[in-house]
Symmetry: C2
């Protein structure tokens, strides 16, 4: 990676900076709280999986405008010199309450709330939204793919077709969080300590005088960890070649690991190839499948019992193809002790700092209630979903490891009621708004309407 | 940005590295050519806009495995020590032929061909595809949005909802290439020399005791460049407030620049707000519109003559919402002087190094012909689309500037026949395959079938 020329503090919409100057010139320094939430479910989603917090925390730790950033802003002739001098010394001194990464949550629930001097809480908006939206979108998609697999091994193959390198690396992280066995992306594997996985490409086969010679060359290099790609010319003939190479390998005391189908009718081919492998005594050789698969394809193959041990899932997972964006928002909900809201058509926000309580039933997922932050729990056994993660600019405790998040997600997802997990038209989970929150909302709305429209 | 722990050479699918070791151990060092192309049009696309080359060239310049990458690979216990030592010294010494960024091209045309020792040409696959796919997808979407605007000013507001920070920055670049006036993303503006643009957020308004006071504070800070967001509480009342603030500003010798509508019925509101502004003598104040818009929304508003001078386009542009991925491929087409192909069901590739010739008509877009690379032009006035950009590891000439690419794209797009630009069900452009290419294809296919399936 070439050295970045500008700091991540500059990854901000211009209006964050112009508003910052206007706040500053107006002496607007009081404490503000911004709340991030997802307004609606993307199509066919009955739950969402929260992710992106760790990158937000790293960003807040490092938040500062470097000299080259300030020089750029000064050269734009848009900003006041005294403001830019002040910006040079700015650090994030606020506090953050957030769900834990991997938390299963629902529409309209605040997932993270940032409290601090208004300029700080405002300036972090663009990066915060970008990362939490990206990682939540991809984690939610990944959970669907995992669920469709019903225990088959899932690996992530999307790096070449994600929307950029940042998305590729974050995808590897959140797919592992939701239970994938590994990623093909070596950079991400190295960054996050995820198992790197891989097979071989058609180019390897076509560079050799014959498929058989290509297979032999590859197993010579990796006698104990080879997956042979069998569809370059003809899947059945390719499987015959793989069997011969696998039997020769066995005689040398090694085991072919698997074959990969990447095109054609995966059900019919997997049945035929399984039979061929078994007939040859290679029942230990697994069949993997790949090639434009999404959770619907995986579910269909699993439902009919296709003898496929693992799936390589790429493009459609990697961009969350059926729901590539969400209607998320980061809105000011309190300023200088005063709850605030906007009334824009179809986009009214919930005023004030909030908490989300999960009232458990046997599954843990009974119902959730959104309440003002300082309110008592709605039930004795209710569990708060927002926790202090940054206080006065300092992290509260150590972050969970990715392995811990993965374990916690697996336990939590196992308890999520099945109707909510449906890939099409899932059931809807009950999210209540407490009577105190409703009353606060009514008061603030009435006050705003009287003031602005009276 | 925190310092990256691993180099971009590690941004590769694991199989690129395992295949590299197998090639190396097998003594497979001959020259290979890989070709990248897009198999099919995404929905409702009749053309594509090529982008991503500049990042590829920077990547090739910097291509190397750093010590920490090698240490990681060694620790994985997957690789041969001698191979890793060899990898430490590897640089990209090959050659690249590519279309120019901003070129309008069509399905199945090679956009870039990489020729070099097979290991080098193979190892760059993941990054090359990731960037060219991303930037081509976004540039194509951006061209559609520009086209829908029919000369209205377009600005890119997507940074918070793109799939990651890399996508946000590359989006800003390619939207500017296709004619956008600017981006809200300050980091991208600084990186690429693009005009940064912005207005104000609802949070600014709601932090003040009233909308009117918020407007006054903002114009105090930016008396000559303010766009007032008028929909926080009620768009008509907000416009009344904006008019009062605008008239007061005028008396002080300044001009309110514009107002922004961000919700509700944009046609009805723009007509009403335009009338209100004009009645108040503020005919110089423009109306901007934003809020979940895509090319279809923009086209509908422009077609009915909504008095909107400019559009802020975000999320749906930023992820290419209706077509977030493409069926692109990077395939081996020649090895050691021998044209090769794969026959996988539905994915047969065109063998050999190729050229694309554009045979012009009055519009420049007559028809394109895909031919073997060394073939003579199909017509005297035909224009080759692939050019040498890297030769033996060194760049050929300086890259065009972004401003030059923007100019060239504008001229080229103006000549693209209108039926191809239709946002729904566009006409299809004729892409021929020369008889020599067909004959080559037949020969290679016959040879492969005889060898592998005979």
């Amino acid at each position: 990676m070439s050295e970045p020329r500008f700091s991540n503090a500059l990854f901000a919409d211009l209006y964050e900076l112009t508003m910052a100057q206007a706040y500053w010139q107006h002496g607007w320094q009081a404490e503000a709280t911004f709340s991030m939430f997802f307004r609606e479910y993307p199509p066919d989603r009955g739950y969402l999986v929260y992710a992106g917090l760790e990158d937000l925390l790293n960003y807040l730790d490092e938040f500062r405008f470097e000299e080259r950033d300030i020089e750029y802003l000064r050269a734009s002739a848009r900003f006041d010199d005294a403001f830019l001098d002040w910006l040079t010394d700015l650090r994030f001194t606020g506090s953050v309450r957030s769900m834990t990464e991997g938390e299963i949550f629902f529409a309209n629930e605040p997932v993270v709330e940032v409290t601090g001097p208004i300029i700080e809480a405002q300036l972090v908006e663009t990066y915060l939204m970008n990362q939490i939206n990206l990682q939540t979108t991809l984690a939610t998609k990944a959970a669907r793919v995992m669920h469709a697999g019903r225990g088959r091994q899932m690996v992530e193959f999307a790096a070449r077709r994600t929307q950029g390198t940042d998305a590729a690396n974050k995808l590897a992280r959140v797919t592992y969080l939701t239970g994938f066995a590994g990623t093909s992306n070596v950079q991400a594997a190295a960054m996050y300590g995820i198992p790197p996985v891989g097979t071989m490409a058609h180019s390897f086969i076509t560079s050799f005088p014959s498929e058989r010679e290509a297979f032999e060359a590859y197993v010579d290099s990796f006698p104990d960890s080879t997956t042979l790609l069998v569809d370059t010319y003809d899947t059945i003939q390719g499987t015959r070649n793989a069997i011969e190479v696998g039997l020769a390998l066995q005689q040398r005391g090694h085991r072919l690991r698997s074959i990969r189908l990447d095109s054609g009718d995966l059900l019919a081919l997997s049945l035929e190839c399984r039979r061929m492998l078994d007939d040859a005594g290679l029942n230990y050789v697994d069949i993997l499948a790949s090639g434009g698969l999404d959770e619907y394809d995986v579910q269909a193959l699993v439902d009919v019992g296709a003898p496929i041990a693992g799936f390589g899932v790429g493009t459609k997972l990697g961009v969350s193809a059926d729901a590539p964006w969400t209607d998320c928002a980061y809105k000011l909900v309190e300023f200088d002790g005063r709850p605030v809201l906007k009334l824009s058509t179809g986009k009214e926000t919930l005023a004030g700092r909030k908490q989300v309580w999960r009232v458990p039933d046997v599954s843990q997922f009974g119902l959730d209630v959104i309440v003002p932050a300082d309110e008592v729990p709605p039930a004795a056994d209710a569990i708060p979903l927002l926790h202090d993660v940054v206080r006065d600019g300092k992290r509260v405790g150590a972050s969970p490891t990715l392995a811990e998040l993965r374990q916690r997600f697996a336990e939590s997802f196992a308890r999520l009621p099945e109707p909510l997990k449906a890939l099409r038209s899932p059931a809807s989970y009950e999210v209540g708004i407490s009577s105190t929150q409703r009353e606060l909302q009514r008061q603030v709305r009435d006050e705003v309407v009287a003031r602005e429209l009276g």
